[in-house]
């Protein structure tokens, strides 16, 4: 059929029909899209706001600077793989936020890996710096307020390795840009190996133990009861806010002028 269109010109109707066939073949691999209910609800809310004549400058909230809370010290560990492991440095007590649990209750993770329910590459270059307090983990930046992989909404975050099964009462997470939804999932207490990535799914054997919507720059995720686990997943599961530092290299077709993403700037695990 392609030869027909590319070859000698036929009459116009025949050409048109052949072009349609070529277009059908060229787009045969294109699938449907999935719409995310949370995004639709947000679109609905934005619509209502616009209808109500209220200025839609809500996103300026997103420009609030990130507050970096130092993580608690104590303990030392190495990242798996023998690399230069994130050595834990004891923090002076003044560096710890006033609401911090006492140093004795703080559990320092020994390693962290990206779990983005896709390929595990999101922000993986920088993530090690989170553990020793020298940097933050940032998500990719997206054209819409939801992380996606091949067009399918995904959740994205980090699995912290506590070194051994430990009873955790709460996790305090410092977030770069307010407005995200965060969830805390934990592995079964008997799990001793980092789970592999399952596309578009949480890691095998993990269960959700806490969650918070539309969080500020610091959120405390508290399971109903302390959970004994070696691995804790903290991830962005819903809509993500507009970032104050959009990557100029990313050009979006629909261009609402914003790029969306977030970051985790610190975490603190408290024994339960």
């Amino acid at each position: 059929m392609s030869e027909g269109f590319v070859g000698a010109a036929g009459d116009a109707d025949q050409d048109a029909e052949q072009l349609h066939d070529v277009m059908a073949l060229a787009t045969a691999h294109i699938g449907a899209v999935v719409v995310d209910r949370a995004r639709l609800r947000r679109a609905q809310r934005r619509h209502r706001v616009a209808e109500g004549g209220v200025a839609a400058g809500v996103l300026s909230v997103a420009l609030v600077a990130a507050t970096v809370v130092m993580q608690g010290g104590g303990g030392a560990g190495k990242a798996p793989g023998g690399g230069p492991g994130p050595t834990q440095v004891s923090q002076s007590p003044t560096a710890v936020a006033s609401s911090a649990p006492s140093a004795a209750k703080v559990v320092a993770p020994v390693a962290v890996t990206v779990y983005d329910s896709a390929d595990g590459l999101e922000g993986s270059d920088e993530v090690k710096r989170l553990l020793n307090g020298t940097g933050a983990w940032e998500t990719n930046q997206y054209c819409q307020d939801r992380a996606t992989y091949h067009g399918v909404p995904k959740s994205t975050g980090l699995i912290f390795d506590l070194g051994a099964a430990t009873s955790i009462g709460e996790v305090t997470v410092s977030v770069g840009v307010p407005g995200a939804d965060l969830e805390m999932w934990t592995a079964d207490g008997s799990d001793t190996a980092l789970p592999g990535i399952r596309p578009n799914q949480p890691p095998a054997g993990f269960t959700k133990v806490a969650g918070a919507a539309d969080v500020g720059t610091t959120v405390v995720l508290s399971p109903a009861h302390p959970v004994t686990t070696r691995y804790v997943l903290v991830w962005f599961t819903g809509t993500i806010p507009a970032v104050p530092n959009p990557n100029k290299a990313i050009i979006c077709a629909h261009g609402d002028g914003h790029l969306y993403g977030d970051s985790i700037t610190a975490v603190r695990f408290a024994r339960g």
Binding site: A16, M23, H29, L40, A253
Partner: protein, 176 residues
């Protein structure tokens, strides 16, 4: 959520399940990459949902969404001189240089590249008219409505676009 909202959401999701592939294929022909196409369609669907109670009663809700897709594409073309497009391989290596491992048939991939390269050569307005007329198979009048231009303009652009595509793809085939 109230009952009405839930019902509306369900009906909208049914529409998306049934029609979004068709919208995606059109958007893909307009902008040339799956990512940009997805972006156009998602954005159009989000604009549609708040008005769904009204749109669903239209003769063709899909036409409503498609018009937003086309308008969004034009807006994007205006704001960025060119949409980001993947560097399509040219010349004799094109089949080999196609994305591996996606299970696409090699001949289909080569033909797709050739079509997208040729579409990229067309002015945006002509490309849109060609896609709406020959892919969507809209009538000349319908294309004129979407593009807000005259019937005569649609006819001449469609005919010239078709001829131009045929020439470009024939030249492409000869060079391989």
């Amino acid at each position: 959520m109230g009952h009405d909202t839930t019902e509306r959401l369900r009906s909208f999701e049914e529409f998306v399940a049934a029609r979004s592939q068709s919208l995606m294929r059109t958007a893909y022909l307009l902008v040339g990459t799956r990512e940009s196409a997805e972006d156009l369609v998602q954005s159009a669907l989000e604009k549609t949902f708040p008005r769904w109670s009204r749109v669903r009663r239209m003769d063709s809700p899909e036409a409503y969404v498609r018009r937003i897709v086309v308008n969004n594409a034009h807006a994007a073309w205006r704001s960025a001189k060119q949409l980001p497009t993947v560097a399509l391989p040219t010349g004799p290596d094109s089949a080999a240089a196609s994305v591996p491992g996606c299970g696409d048939h090699a001949e289909g991939v080569t033909l797709r590249d050739s079509l997208l390269r040729a579409l990229d050569e067309l002015p945006h307005g002509m490309r849109t008219i060609v896609v709406l007329r020959y892919w969507e198979e809209l009538s000349v009048q319908e294309v004129a409505d979407v593009q807000r231009c005259s019937i005569g303009n649609v006819k001449s652009q469609a005919a010239r676009g078709l001829e131009r595509l045929r020439e470009l793809m024939a030249a492409d085939a000869r060079s391989e």
